[in-house]
């Protein structure tokens, strides 16, 4: 391949280069390879915004000195950033809320201290704002390029929407200050902005700058990483459409793990490109590697393998069924005992086959469910793929997909809207009726209106649990299988029940302390119900009836990530019930790959000594309920 044939994003003169796509397609590999390539000529910062970082693992350097001097690697620590933000602005925020609301000092302090596990996207946004605000270097030094390795699709879209969300929060702060401003001008304090006004203005300007930066093609581009698999294509199409809706410029499409076979893949990618018309990105393919691409040397050579998508559908053998017959049906080695948990969380790295395993497991469990009891299969990943896997129409309402099995894709935003509509009415009515001849609540009414237009961070995790708690409360299901978002956000999901407890108690305290002014009986009723549901949920974890089914693949990076996942799950009383190692080299694979896999499998056995483990060989991905039922029957023993 000639050196001139390289993706243009390896040259493009921009400030920000995002790499995104469905979990497990190779975002980290492509981002790291690009950062290494570009660090030969300019300073580069490689930033990971995925809460489950894998940059260090991918680069596999023990000593940072082994990295090129021009390359800085940064794995964003949202909690630390949040703490920094809080300690820097705590008093400022306190004063703002104090100036503009009914709440007393104690209540504000409690609110500001609440932990916010959904802050990853907000903190990533603030970090980007920091980086965008750095002073332009002088003529002699070159500007640093920021290469961003993002979290899988669902949460990356949340990140892109954060500036808008943040702008509404800033508006809210501004409104809180308005009462004070009005008073100041009335009582002769002048109309000059004070420190707090300036703080809000600065936030506003920063938000606008990042919003604009993300949409300026000459400064920011997005590289979409994908694979020629139906489920991945479906998600990629949604991602590209979402990027277009948000006016984010797509620099290219990288099709990773390309197999040398027939025209079917080419055809599929052509269709994908055609369906994202209007953007017409360049398409590059990266051949499937025999072994895991890890370490600086191998990463630096990644783009030497890249080539453009063939211009013509080379020999028109493109009957799509050829791929199907060419790839064997995955084989299962050492089936498991069917899990006995009431709540089974199917978790793992992005793209390892969580949805497939969750669906197959749910179908298998539904088979042995008796009488009127049923199994619920629910997806809490904002980038749902249950419907694509089951080849069924799904919605936010549980839909029967098989005998004894309902499936649901939780619509977090929709559910949040519904909650807001249901209780907003009461809050508005309260502020309309409250007060008396001597109390003017006009300002507080507006503050409340503004407060209610805000969406909380971590909305997917919050609403995911609220939906699941409702489903379990209804007593229709005796078991729930959860298809979760990839590791990083799965950990956030686990943190939620504990955090809910603190939130609800804080609200209770505020409501108690203000019970003579604030009367919101319906909202209180909902909070009490939620509190009871959270207790029931936490007792599922405490009594060991909630457990995790880990899904993973035979790579060194996946071993490390699964080990981290097990540790976080254990911290929240969720044990790892079993492990499914997916895509193990089949008997027909090249000996080098089989040897490499065998080595990783030995490591799995050592690290997860007490965990039952089953192996699924690579092959044609199961699609539709029939395939999945078949897989489920082989994954688990006949007997309970």
């Amino acid at each position: 391949m000639s050196r001139s044939a390289l993706p243009s994003f390896l040259r493009a003169d921009v400030d920000l280069l995002f790499f995104g796509g469905k979990g497990g397609v190779g975002k980290t590999t492509c981002a790291a390879a690009t950062a290494l390539h570009r660090s030969r000529r300019q300073p580069v910062r490689l930033l990971s915004t995925d809460p489950a970082h894998s940059l260090t693992d991918s680069l596999a350097v023990d000593d940072p000195d082994d990295l090129p001097a021009s390359l800085t690697v940064e794995e964003l620590d949202a909690e630390a950033e949040l703490d920094d933000f809080r300690s820097a602005y705590r008093e400022t925020l306190f004063e703002i809320v104090d100036r503009g609301s009914l709440f007393d000092e104690e209540a504000i302090r409690q609110l500001l201290d609440l932990s916010l596990p959904g802050m990853d996207e907000v903190m990533a946004f603030l970090r980007l704002a920091d980086l965008a605000d750095r002073p332009t270097p002088d003529a002699t030094s070159e500007r640093e390029l920021v290469v961003v390795d993002t979290a899988p699709t669902g949460h990356t879209l949340r990140l892109l929407d954060t500036p808008d969300q943040f702008a509404r929060w800033v508006d809210f702060l501004d409104l809180l200050l308005e009462k004070h401003r009005t008073m100041r001008s009335v009582f002769g304090g002048g109309t000059e902005p004070d420190d707090l006004d300036r703080f809000v203005n600065t936030l506003n300007e920063r938000t606008d700058r990042v919003h604009a930066l993300l949409r300026t093609a000459s400064r920011c581009r997005f590289v979409v990483v994908t694979q020629a698999e139906p489920v991945v294509e479906a998600e990629t199409r949604r991602l590209v459409e979402a990027l277009r809706d948000r006016s984010v410029s797509v620099a290219g499409l990288v099709v990773n793990r390309w197999r040398e076979d027939d025209g079917a893949q080419t055809q599929a990618i052509r269709t994908l490109r055609a369906s994202v018309s209007g953007t017409d990105p360049e398409v590059w393919i990266l051949p499937e590697a025999d072994t895991e691409i890890r370490g600086v040397d191998r990463l630096a050579a990644v783009w030497d393998q890249a080539r453009p998508l063939p211009a013509d559908p080379s020999p028109p053998v493109a009957a799509p069924c050829r791929t199907r017959s060419a790839r064997p049906v995955p084989q299962v080695h050492a089936p498991l005992r069917p899990p006995a948990a009431d709540l089974l969380l199917v978790a793992g790295k992005g793209g390892v086959g969580k949805t497939t395993v969750a669906s197959a497991t749910a179908l298998r469990l539904a088979r042995s469910a008796s009488g009127d009891q049923a199994v619920l299969l629910a997806s809490t990943d904002p980038a749902h793929s249950l419907a694509a896997a089951l080849d069924a129409e799904l919605s936010d309402d549980p839909t029967p997909v098989a005998k004894g099995l309902d499936a649901v894709e939780v619509d977090a935003a929709g559910r949040f809207e519904a909650l807001r509509a249901a209780y907003g009415q009461e809050v508005r009515a309260f502020f309309r009726d409250a007060g008396g001849p001597n109390v003017d609540l006009t300002h507080d009414r507006r503050v409340t209106e503004s407060l209610m237009s805000l969406a909380p961070p971590g909305i997917d995790e919050v609403m995911g649990w609220i939906a699941v708690m409702e489903f379990l409360d209804e007593d229709r299901y005796d078991m729930c299988v959860l298809d979760t978002a990839p590791t990083g956000h799965f950990v956030r999901l686990l943190e939620m029940p504990t955090v809910f407890g603190t939130w609800i108690r804080t609200f209770f305290r505020i409501l108690r302390d203000h019970r003579h002014i604030v009367r919101l009986p319906d909202l209180v009723d909902r909070l009490v119900r939620l509190s009871k549901q959270v207790k029931a949920l936490r007792s599922l974890f405490r009594t060991g009836t909630a457990s995790v089914l880990g899904v993973t693949i035979p790579t060194a990076m996946a071993v490390a990530e699964m080990d981290d996942l097990r540790r976080s799950a254990a911290e929240h009383n969720a044990g790892l019930a079993a492990l499914v190692v997916n895509r193990v080299a089949a008997a027909t694979a090249p000996p080098s790959r089989r040897r490499a896999d065998a080595a990783v499998l030995r490591r799995y056995r050592r690290v997860f000594r007490d965990v039952p483990m089953t192996l699924v060989s690579e092959g044609r991905p199961p699609r539709g309920a029939r395939d999945l039922r078949h897989l489920g029957n082989r994954l688990y023993n006949r007997r309970e």
């Binding site: 609800i504 108690r505 209770f508 108690r512 009986p521 209180v524 009723d525 009490v528 509190s531």
Partner: protein, 85 residues
């Protein structure tokens, strides 16, 4: 014709109206009472959660409220049975 009907039926109409009004008022009272009891229960629960009252106090007072709710349910049953046709 229809004037005569109206005059002729007026006493019965009036009676039905009164019965309906009494029924509505009674039902509204039951509903208000139910809401009040629900709020009381929620209040009690919040106090327990915040550690303002002990488990024993909670249990005792919860039972009182639940008894009153039961009584209310019975009263409503009677109301429905004797309700206006």
């Amino acid at each position: 014709m229809f004037l005569i009907d109206d005059i002729f039926l007026a006493p019965f109409r009036g009676l039905t109206f009164v019965a309906q009004a009494v029924y509505d008022a009674a039902e509204e009272e039951v509903e208000n009472e139910r809401q009040a009891l629900r709020d009381e229960l929620n209040d009690l629960y919040m106090q327990l959660e915040l550690g303002d009252i002990s488990e024993e106090t909670f249990d005792r007072r919860e039972e009182e409220i639940l008894d009153r709710l039961d009584a209310l349910r019975e009263a409503e049953q009677t109301l429905d049975d004797d309700g206006p046709a």
